[in-house]
């Protein structure tokens, strides 16, 4: 498996919405390469005939009874928010300048 480049790590960090500075990238890229080389050992172990397992104890169609149960009050739901306005989560602008 190929080593992961500094540029690739920077791209992944953008996808994962984490600002990483140059020092972080220099540190992280070689570490991720070592981990990826190690986990790459699994390639080819399982053939096409082996089904994938996503969950150790499979359950399907899990529904609760269709009855109303108490939920959080608006005050409770907003209690941990960094910023609140008019009983809503207050967020920074979501569109760029060009939109």
């Amino acid at each position: 498996m190929p080593a992961i480049s500094r540029e690739e790590v920077a791209h992944l960090a953008t996808l994962a919405r984490i600002d990483l500075d140059d020092t972080d990238l220099d540190h992280l890229a070689p570490q991720l390469s070592v981990i990826l080389e190690s986990v790459a050992s699994i390639s080819g172990v399982a053939g096409d005939d082996v089904p994938a397992t996503s969950h150790p104890i499979p359950m399907t169609n899990v529904f609760r009874e269709d009855v109303v149960t108490p939920g959080l009050t608006p005050e409770q739901a907003l209690s941990g928010a960094p910023e609140v306005e008019q009983q809503r989560f207050s967020v920074p602008r979501i569109l760029g300048d060009e939109q």
Binding site: A16, I18, D19, V39, V62, G80, P92
Partner: protein, 505 residues
């Protein structure tokens, strides 16, 4: 012997007999925390007021002859990854510093309903990512056996709390060994129940398909007691399995009688060899011989795909965690940091700055690794392949449990290592979970019980026992049998050999 040195079962009996009140017990543990936690740092938050109020309510129930449960009034510590009303829940992360959840985790609600005062919240690796508790944003927990060494992780705080006699019981969570490995390196008992048999509602998820809440205690019987309190189906958790665990306490009591005749034990071939500390292997081998003397039949069993478990785990876990931790977006709860030098930052810029400031190095590593494993072009080679390995490991367990009733191995390859030794070597750190990971991938239950001290360093060694899905009772039967037989040899519990901690007042 002071109250803090007694087991939870002994404390429950003393409460029932009116020999002590819950307020006295709770205060004794709060005093012990005040005296030793400056050195151990097992707790991130202590709730003296709440615990004493719950204790007083418990005493009132006992006085009225209406205790809520057997352990009503026995205090407990809770890992800081479980949501608690009235106490902060930080997951060991700056991201959630000061967050007060508006709801209780189901296991916390069950503990409260059983009348057990909650002493406080225990330290952990950030978002449960780690094997040493060094990844906590609030500083490491220290091993009561040697304050310069790690207490294991991610639940090092819960294990150290019971090992240091700061709490008789604690709740932990185990995603790849975070209950069992700390148990092994602190000379305590830890159980990962069958996946889905204990509710995950209110557990801040690391990897949903692997996480499980379980007991952290000093004795096997105490784990069984706590397991019966927290287990059972929960409609709030869609992965919760039907039914409630029963007969665990009975199994522990039966096992303690010391007769294992008719039991077939398999020693896992693949969990031994290079990289396994001699003193660990010696103590485990002796424990296996002891099982034979108690009447068990011991055979060696090969689980050929276990050698791939760690690689599969470090693809599945980062994939799930990168998705789970996407919720820390600086909008609804937790930290919000504005980027430097941006006049009117966008939500995306705020999210990126916040996640850089709020997450530690290991969390960033795993999120990025998971993002990579799930990216198109790599998905089949990595995540898809890891899920197939998971199937092969489940098949290994199925085949093994056709031959034997339980499997045994060391819990961890080494004893507790010095703080700092592996802090910036992720791969070396990941190897600590080599023996515990297969159980999480397959959903089977496991226990770690003290097996003695390694000759070369005098530090605790854990024996891991694994049972088939929903056969958690076997862990308690075998665990209690080995515990009773070893304590007879040692002349008391292993923790009696731990150096006394200096008490400060």
């Amino acid at each position: 012997m002071s109250w803090v040195h007694k087991s939870a079962a002994e404390l429950a009996d003393a409460l029932a007999a009116g020999e002590v009140t819950s307020v006295e017990l709770t205060q004794a543990h709060l005093d012990r925390i005040a005296a030793v936690d400056g050195d151990v740092h097992a707790f991130l938050h202590i709730d003296a007021e709440g615990a004493l109020a719950a204790a007083a309510a418990s005493d009132a129930r006992r006085a009225a002859g209406t205790p809520a449960s057997g352990p009503d009034g026995v205090p407990i510590a809770v890992k800081d990854v479980l949501a608690t009303i009235g106490q902060p829940t930080t997951c060991g992360s700056k991201m959630l510093e000061g967050w007060h959840p508006p709801y209780d985790a189901t296991v916390v609600a069950k503990v409260r309903a059983a009348g057990m005062p909650i002493l406080g919240k225990t330290n952990m690796d950030e978002f449960a990512m780690g094997s040493s508790t060094e990844n906590s944003a609030y500083g490491p927990t220290r091993n009561p056996w040697d304050l310069d060494r790690i207490p294991g992780g991610s639940g090092g705080g819960s294990a150290a709390a019971v090992a240091a006699f700061e709490a008789p019981l604690a709740l932990g969570t185990d995603t790849g060994g975070s209950i069992r490995q700390p148990g092994a390196v602190t000379g305590t008992v830890g159980v990962k129940p069958t996946y889905g048999s204990v509710s995950r509602y209110g557990l801040v998820a690391l990897a949903n398909s692997l996480d499980q809440v379980g007991p952290v205690t000093r004795t096997v019987l105490d784990s069984a007691l706590l397991h019966e309190v927290i287990g059972g189906h929960d409609p709030l958790d869609s992965t919760s399995i039907p039914g409630a665990p029963a007969g665990l306490v009975d199994a522990a009591r039966q096992g303690a009688s010391g007769d294992l005749s008719g039991l077939k034990v398999g020693v896992i071939t693949e969990l031994a060899g290079d990289g396994w500390q001699d003193g660990v292997m010696t103590r485990v081998q002796e424990s296996v011989e002891l099982l034979e003397r108690l009447g068990a039949e011991v055979v060696e069993v090969s689980c050929p795909h276990f050698v791939h478990a760690m690689a599969a785990y470090y693809l599945i876990l980062p994939a799930e965690c990168s998705s789970n931790l996407a919720k820390f977006d600086a909008m609804r709860y937790g930290m919000r940091v504005l980027p430097d030098g941006v006049a009117s930052p966008s939500a995306e810029e705020v999210m990126k700055a916040t996640r850089d400031a709020g997450f530690g190095a290991e969390v960033k590593r795993r999120i990025i690794l998971g993002t990579y494993a799930l990216s198109s072009g790599y998905y089949d080679a990595f995540y898809g392949q890891a899920q197939k390995i998971r199937t092969l490991i489940i098949r290994d367990f199925d085949a093994a449990f056709e031959q034997v009733d339980v499997l045994v191995s060391p819990t961890a390859p080494t004893t507790a290592f010095p703080i700092g030794e592996k802090a910036d070597d992720p791969l070396a750190m990941y190897l600590n979970d080599l023996a515990t990971i297969p159980a999480n991938l397959a959903g089977v239950p496991g226990i770690s019980v003290p097996a003695g001290l390694a000759a070369e360093d005098g530090l605790p060694v854990g024996l891991q026992v694994l049972a088939p899905v929903k056969a958690d009772d076997r862990l308690y039967r075998v665990g209690a049998a080995i515990e009773a037989a070893l304590e007879k040899e040692w002349g008391g519990p292993l923790l009696a050999q731990a150096p006394a901690l200096e008490e400060t007042r």
